[in-house]
């Protein structure tokens, strides 16, 4: 590799990196800088070092939010990935009629903005007039309060699953299509049936794709914002301002006017996400090499 070529390489990556630095690194550095100050209505701005971080670490509302999205992650992500995996395997098995139609139908929700998704499900959940409640009423059953405190997390999980199961299906399906034919031929020679092929050939081959989907789901879960923010209107007493850490950071910045503390909270949330992603990756890798 000569020096000229190396310089050309820089030129190719420069536009991306330039925008990357301007739109990501600089704001992030600025947020880091802000997080070291405290601004009060009375008394103005003072440098406080890491005080905001110390406060965040003992903030029960933040901890509650982190635990809640952690719970959300543990419930929703396995469900969504299993569904996606099942759909992808079913599509790839060639045992379906109408497979193209089914594939696109399941994927369509991904193209629906979360604003619209929350709106639609909000109506469907409605405890007085929503179709679910109406159906239960017709059947003489007590209507479940899907917007109530105990079911809200599940109702949110349902919306997110609805939005992203199809997306994960497509990723996994695309990966399945890329498995080299030789692997299948070998399995066929061994006389493996559809299920054994799926178990022995397909799922191992999907490992990288699954891991990637998992990492993205960690990030998505811990950054949960749009859906709860939009559902807040329908269930103001259930979804409070610290329901998720991102919602909390938003409320700190825009309601409590505490941009500095909000920056610290966001930074800590980023650390949590990195830690969880890393743990997930580590666990996956350890299982691969027993």
């Amino acid at each position: 590799m000569n020096r000229h070529r190396a310089r050309v390489g820089y030129l190719f990556v420069a536009p991306f990196l330039l925008v990357f630095v301007a739109m990501l690194v600089v704001p992030l550095a600025y947020a880091g800088y802000l997080s070291l100050f405290r601004e009060q209505l009375i008394g103005g701005t003072t440098f406080v070092g890491l005080e905001n971080y110390a406060r965040a670490l003992s903030d029960e509302r933040l901890l509650g939010g982190v635990l809640r999205v952690g719970e959300f992650f543990l419930i929703q992500v396995p469900l969504m990935l299993l569904l996606g995996l099942f759909f992808a395997l079913a599509l790839d098995s060639g045992m379906l009629w109408l497979s193209r139609f089914i594939r696109l139908g399941i994927f369509v929700p991904y193209a629906v903005p979360s604003v619209v998704a929350a709106l639609m499900w909000g109506y469907l959940y409605g405890p007085e007039f929503g179709p679910i409640a109406q159906l239960a009423e017709t059947l003489g059953l007590p209507a479940p309060n899907l917007l109530g405190g105990s079911l809200m997390l599940g109702s949110l999980a349902n919306i997110v699953t609805w939005e992203f199961a199809g997306y994960n299906m497509i990723i996994l399906y695309a990966a399945l299509r890329a498995i080299p034919s030789e692997l299948y031929e070998a399995a066929a020679v061994d006389g493996a049936g559809a299920w054994r092929t799926a178990w022995n050939v397909k799922i191992p081959a999907l490992r990288p794709a699954l891991l990637m989907a998992l990492i993205f789901s960690v990030i998505g879960s811990f950054q949960l914002f749009n859906e709860p923010q939009l559902m807040q209107r329908l269930a103001p007493n259930v979804i409070d301002s610290a329901y998720t850490p991102n919602l909390y950071a938003y409320s700190l910045a825009f309601t409590s006017q505490d941009v500095n503390y909000a920056a610290a909270v966001s930074f800590l949330l980023g650390v949590v996400i990195v830690a969880v992603s890393y743990t997930v990756q580590l666990a996956a890798n350890r299982r691969r090499t027993p």
């Binding site: 190719f12 399941i106 604003v115």
Partner: protein, 302 residues
């Protein structure tokens, strides 16, 4: 990062249902999948049904079937005429923001991905790792400082406030990098160089063509991300005539719930929502051959 021999472009081209001797279609599995399909399409069905209803029927009639009055034409007319046709403006804004952002992000990702894949310059790995790590930064951590910085340089409440941050797509760069590694053979590059072609001519005339499916994938997914973006425009824009359709709809929905608002906006929200998702669904359907191929790469490799 491992490489396999499979060229991503060919992945989709294969016929479905391979590898199983004499595979038969299964009615049970098909029925099961159709049941799931109902779940995924039900809310959309509700949206279609609801957009044909009057305000009164929305709350009075059964949600999942049509009411006696068919007011879709009336709802459509109102969506496009209230507030001097603001909704049409929102749709147009969304289209502009999404297309410019997606085009820009795809070009940046293609250039960068190719650069990272095929040029072993110093710091290549470290820079790439830095970019990937950025995926994990929470959106709120960026939104607030970005707002303050944009305000200083006068970008708040302009289309740039939406477009510029959307140009960076770390996942797109990641996808293009692995895509370029596979789809662009080194031998082809060497041959072109020996012919005396400049690096940028090679990129324009040879590489870009090979990267097309990956390019379309990044384009489409950035398109979706920008089209559906809510948080960023929510804080960046004050002027309703600059809103994208998501913020506009949320605004209408909020109007329906605050004291003093006119009571008849719910049908507008519903019908507007239905209209807002049609363009994206159409784009996905028309371009599916490309993006499914592009995604295969991202999924297979690590």
């Amino acid at each position: 990062m491992t490489t396999t021999a499979t060229a991503p472009v060919t992945a989709v081209a294969r016929a479905e249902g391979r590898g199983i001797a004499g595979h038969r279609r299964s009615p049970a599995l098909t029925l099961g999948m159709l049941a799931f399909l109902i779940y995924f399409l039900l809310p959309l069905f509700w949206l279609v049904v609801a957009s044909t209803k009057t305000m009164g029927d929305l709350f009075a009639s059964f949600g999942l079937w049509f009411a006696d009055d068919f007011s879709l034409p009336d709802n459509l007319r109102r969506v496009f005429t209230v507030q001097d046709g603001m909704y049409g403006r929102w749709l147009l804004n969304t289209a502009i923001y999404a297309v410019v952002s997606a085009g820009g992000a795809a070009v940046l990702a293609a250039l960068g991905g190719y650069g990272f894949a095929k040029f072993g310059f110093r710091g290549n790995k470290a820079l790439f790792g830095l970019v990937l790590g950025a995926i994990m930064v929470p959106s709120t951590a960026l939104a607030i400082p970005t707002y303050l910085i944009f305000a200083k340089i006068g970008l708040v409440n302009t289309p740039w406030a939406i477009i510029l941050p959307s140009l960076v797509n770390p996942f797109g760069l990641y996808l293009m990098r692995i895509y370029a590694e596979d789809a662009v053979p080194d031998s082809l590059l060497e041959a072109a160089r020996i012919d005396g072609a400049g690096e940028f001519r090679i990129f324009r005339q040879v590489v870009l063509r090979l990267l097309a499916p990956g390019f379309v994938t990044v384009l489409l997914f950035t398109l979706v991300a920008t089209w559906n973006n809510y948080f960023l425009p929510l804080i960046m824009l004050n002027d309703p005539s600059l809103y994208p359709v998501t913020v506009g709809l949320a605004n209408w929905a909020a109007q329906a719930t605050v004291a003093g608002g006119s009571g008849d906006v719910v049908p507008l929200v519903v019908t507007g929502s239905l209209l807002s998702i049609i363009p994206l669904v159409a784009a996905f359907l028309m371009l599916q051959r490309y993006w499914q191929g592009g995604l295969a790469t991202g999924g297979v490799k690590q």
